[in-house]
């Protein structure tokens, strides 16, 4: 009794007319067109970085800081090296935008000259860490086995050395100055980079494309440069971005202790140090401006580094 009913419903033919169907005319352009533009890894990361507001604030203020470090002393109304004793310890005014110090020097100009030194130290330290760390970590990770074992033992020992103490020790021994600081910062600074690169290379070297390269008889140095490093570039860049603020901090720390940049040169750290005796008398501008710009620079690099870390992480890629 039920079967016919079922048949009734399932076999009812809907009224399909032939004119509903129009054959599509072949269109050569459309057939080959890619609907969505292909997005490379770097482009994708860049788009995601653009969406990160905090990282963008960091990037923009860094660009501004670099511009000011380059052109700040030029646009100031006062000239750089004038020491007019009548102008001692003046608060900020239209003539001296950030006030003057106890020798009558313009704090605005000194702040941007300090910026040059601080940024230079930070970037140089990051670059040297990059060169040594990537070479060392790349070789250790790629060679593996006994080479890796001994190379990493050495790194472990260096890693155990307290960073700032070593920096202080070397700065005491070397003649104080810009290059001593950079040497002191780089002597143990590359260790973190080497560890990171080695870990990445250990992972990547087992992929098939590396095997393919090896089968072709490619030289080790070329495999490291062309196959392994481009694939670790993301974490390396993040590491470098985070090295810069710690180097800038270390430089400021050294200069604050009096073993960093020596007069007549100024860095933010040494300016803060010079300002220490006068804050009790209320000359706030001497401390405020260098302190503010150290903090702003470290803030910018830190948030940019955090943003890059998120943007360059392939696991977060959609």
């Amino acid at each position: 009794m039920e079967a016919p009913k079922q048949q009734d419903t399932s076999f009812t033919q809907p009224n399909i007319l032939d004119e509903w169907f129009v054959p599509k005319k072949p269109n050569k352009d459309e057939a080959e067109a890619v609907v969505r533009p292909s997005v490379s890894y770097w482009k994708d990361a860049w788009y995601r970085l653009l969406k990160n507001k905090l990282a963008m604030i960091g990037l923009v203020s860094l660009i501004l800081l670099v511009l000011m470090a380059a052109f700040g002393p030029i646009i100031a109304p006062d000239s750089a090296e004038t020491t007019v004793l009548q102008n001692q310890n003046q608060p900020p005014s239209s003539e001296h935008w950030f006030g003057t110090d106890e020798l009558g020097r313009d704090v605005f100009i000194r702040t941007w000259e300090g910026a040059r030194i601080s940024l230079f130290v930070g970037v140089m330290a990051a670059l040297i860490d990059f060169i040594i760390g990537v070479a060392y970590g790349g070789i250790a990770g790629y060679k593996g086995g006994r080479t890796d074992h001994y190379m990493m033992r050495f790194v472990e020992i260096l890693y155990g050395l307290p960073y700032l103490l070593v920096v202080i020790l070397i700065s005491v021994v070397l003649k104080p100055g810009l290059f001593s600081i950079i040497i002191a910062l780089s002597i143990t600074g590359w260790v973190g980079m080497a560890r990171m690169v080695r870990g990445q290379v250990l992972q990547i070297k087992n992929y098939e494309f590396v095997l393919a390269s090896q089968t072709f008889g490619t030289k080790t140095s070329r495999i490291i440069r062309k196959n392994l490093l481009p694939n670790t570039m993301g974490p390396i860049i993040v590491q470098m971005t985070l090295t810069v603020p710690s180097a800038i901090f270390a430089e400021a720390f050294l200069s604050f202790l009096g073993i960093g940049i020596q007069p007549p040169f100024a860095s933010w750290g040494s300016m803060a140090n010079d300002a220490l005796p006068v804050i009790l008398s209320g000359d706030w501008w001497r401390l405020f401006f260098p302190a503010f710009f150290i903090s702003l620079t470290m803030f910018s690099f830190n948030v940019l580094g955090d943003g890059l870390q998120d943007a360059l992480d392939p696991k977060l890629r959609r």
């Binding site: 472990e156 050395l161 307290p162 400021a252």
Partner: protein, 310 residues
């Protein structure tokens, strides 16, 4: 576990030896003698002094002698402050620095963890953003900047707390605050991210399903696992606080080890620099060792004797 500990212990000794050697030879590579200063001493006195400090012997002999005395915890005499030894300075300064460091560490750990928990529980809320802004600022503002700002505002402008020295709890507030903010920020960020991860796990759901109070869920179940990453950075944080005391003690005129260290740097009092560096390094290396061991005990998943990096 035992083999790991022994291995780790030997690595610690090697690192220490490296520090001592590095320090020793760096100091001896310096041109000139420590007695070449403005004081006019006769040749005989100079000779006596040099003999007194063993400086007339070959470097290798001096090195062995120095190693021997370090092993006996004798860091040698101070050259600039006659009649004082490095041990005297350490004995006088270290308790103060230790007090400052420990208070700072405790304050940083407690406030950092609390801040991290609150931020994680109110994820993407106003409190979260506020807490993380504080954390980023805490990382970005160097401790000596914070210290000087605190002195200017709290001590000079508002006259709430004393400016310097080390006498009562009131003297401790500002230095501790200046030192603790950075480590606090790092701990807060770590706690937040690991807490966020832990809170999504099944056993937390189970705990909620059992009807436990949020307080119990957070402090009894979630926090235990969320704190593991925090433990790993404790060694580095302690190192940061320790070196941070150098500047903080200088700024607040606290008679601790850091102040003597900075003074010795400025006076170029090499035995004191050497002794203090070695002492601090030993302390830090020992702390790192303790943290590693604690980590192994806290996380049963980590097998310490496992060979790493293969």
């Amino acid at each position: 576990m035992a083999t790991y500990l022994i291995k780790r212990f030997f690595a610690m000794i090697v690192t220490l030896w490296l520090i001592i050697t590095l320090t020793f030879f760096l100091m001896h590579a310096l041109p000139g003698s420590p007695f070449n200063d403005e004081r006019n001493t006769s040749e005989a006195v100079q000779k006596n002094l040099i003999a007194h400090f063993n400086l007339d012997q070959p470097v290798s002999v001096q090195y062995i002698e120095y190693l021997k005395s370090i092993v006996q915890f004798d860091f040698g005499p101070s050259i600039k402050k006659s009649s004082q030894t490095v041990n005297d300075l350490l004995g006088r300064g270290f308790p103060v620095s230790f007090e400052l460091g420990m208070v700072t560490l405790v304050v940083a750990i407690i406030s950092g963890i609390l801040l991290g928990i609150v931020a994680a529980l109110k994820h993407n809320g106003v409190i979260d953003y506020l807490a993380m802004t504080i954390a980023v600022l805490g990382i970005s503002v160097p401790n000596f900047v914070l210290a000087t700002m605190l002195i200017q505002q709290v001590a000079v402008n508002w006259e709430l707390l004393p400016v310097a020295t080390w006498k009562s709890w009131k003297h401790m507030v500002l230095p501790t605050l200046a030192l603790a903010t950075g480590p606090m920020a790092i701990i807060a960020r770590l706690t937040r991210s690991s807490m966020l991860e832990v809170l999504t796990q099944d056993y937390i759901l189970t705990a909620k399903a059992k009807g436990l109070t949020p307080f119990k869920i957070v402090f009894k179940h979630a926090l235990k696992n969320a704190l593991l990453p925090v433990v790993t950075v404790l060694g580095a944080l302690a190192a940061g606080i320790l070196t941070g005391t150098f500047v903080i003690e200088k700024i607040f005129a606290i008679p601790g080890m850091g102040k003597y260290f900075v003074d010795s740097i400025n006076n170029r009092d090499y035995p004191v620099i050497m002794g203090t560096t070695i002492f601090y390094s030993a302390l830090l290396i020992f702390l790192l060792f303790l943290v590693d061991v604690a980590y192994g005990i806290l996380d049963p998943r980590i097998k310490l004797h496992k060979k790493e990096g293969r």
